[in-house]
Amino acid sequence: MSEFHLTEDQQDCLQELINVAMGQASDQLARYLDTFVYLKVPSIESVDAKDLMNTLSQQKNTMAVVSQGFFGYEGIRGEALLVYQEEDSGRIADLLGYEPDELSQDEQLIDISSILTTTFLNVFARQIDNQMSYNAPKLLPSAKENLSEHLQQMPFSWDLALKVNINYQVTDYSFNCNMILLIPETAITNIKHVLDRILAEF
């Protein structure tokens, strides 16, 4: 096991923190969007760069990917990727409470992505006594070909990343999307410190 892998205790602790954050985030989102938002139990795994690119480029019907960087104290940082499928994003303006002619499809995707990412990560950050800042979300150009290219050009070099996969569903608006949080090696070490501290206090 490499120094970047989580121990079983650390993994359980992170899973628990994420579960709590998901609960609170889904509650906040439901109140803002005025509809139920389902967050599916996440998967947490370590992935190497090559595996990740393979899985992401194999996803069919990927219509768009929105990327948003996040960074907090104690070296907690990473990048959130929101992956949308063609059939799941027809009524985003409606869901956000906008008139469709007020904004473009791209802007709808960026707006909803930013709301989902920042709401979840803000709650998560509070769980670990941290506070997050965010980059402006970016729509990656034509998702399919460029996703792996984008991953290669990420602002940090990494071989291994902690991948947290959360699925958002809003059935009333047949909305569905996947949030992938990628935390690079150096930040994993930092997260492990935080988890150890929480485990010690527990």
């Binding site: 989102l29 956000l96 906008y98 904004l103 802007e107 960026i110 930013s114 709301i115």
Partner: protein, 338 residues
Amino acid sequence: MLDFNALISTTMTDTLTLNEQVLKQINSQIANQLNTGVLVLDADFNIVIWNRFLQVHTDKIAKNTLGQSIFSAFPELPERWLSRKFSSVFQLNTPSFCSWEQRHHLFELPHTRPITTDSEFMAQNCTFLPIETDCKSKYICILIEDVTDVCHYQTKLQKTLAELAQISRIDGLTQIYNRRHWQESLEQEYAKARRHDKKLSLIMLDLDYFKLLNDNYGHQCGDMVLIEVSALISSLLRVEDIFGRYGGEEFAIILPETALSGAIELAQRICNKIATKVLIYKDQAIKVTVSLGVAQLSVEESNYEELITLSDNALYQAKALGRNQVCSADCSKSLLID
């Protein structure tokens, strides 16, 4: 600056130490010297603070603007949409963003390069940040960054890339598709025809006695003939036909969803049109002819190259039969058997 000092005096109490006052002054001076617009709104969207950047970029007077609703101070803002965005910042306590890539600008502000760029207003990246204070009242801080330069160069880059992509597909002399792009198109059309079980035909054509023409009149005359013939053929084609320069004086036309009979008819029309056209070079009348080979994709070919071979064979047949004529793959096959 006036606005920041005003805020300080309302929040400052006598118990503030000198240190804190100095810090406040530093903070306010930084805010006023930033090359970024800073605007703070209260929960009713009224302007509470705005920095010098905005004061100098708008013609509004500070004391008239403070306390006003942002939507009456800046009537150009899309009120419904932006109010909903503000409400997400207040309610979810999360930042929100607005990028020039989706929306060139929110605030109609002039910029510092009105002469050297073609945009009228400053391109902006806007950030909306939630601000919570001790007294439980909530504010939104709007940051407005001038990204006119980025926008200008990005737009130029996109334009150049599109031009480059176009140039890489075009033959410089005749302005029709070059061999590489034509062949890629044939590969795609072949795949499409196979997948959807559609017809596909091909015409290969070659100028007759082109070498002789070059020898007699010079290469500039040869170039003129290539340009004129390309233009003449282009005028006879449908939009979906793909016309390219295959090599020196050889051309090729992909005809999607076209049967052999239709392709022969078009080839015959091209043949007649060129044979009857009189070209003028340095006051001399020049007549040229072409030979054409036509083939239709059948069940037998297992790749697009075989279709090229079929029409190429037909073309050589047309040459062998005396030039200035059309030959189809069918007739070249039967002739070979005879």
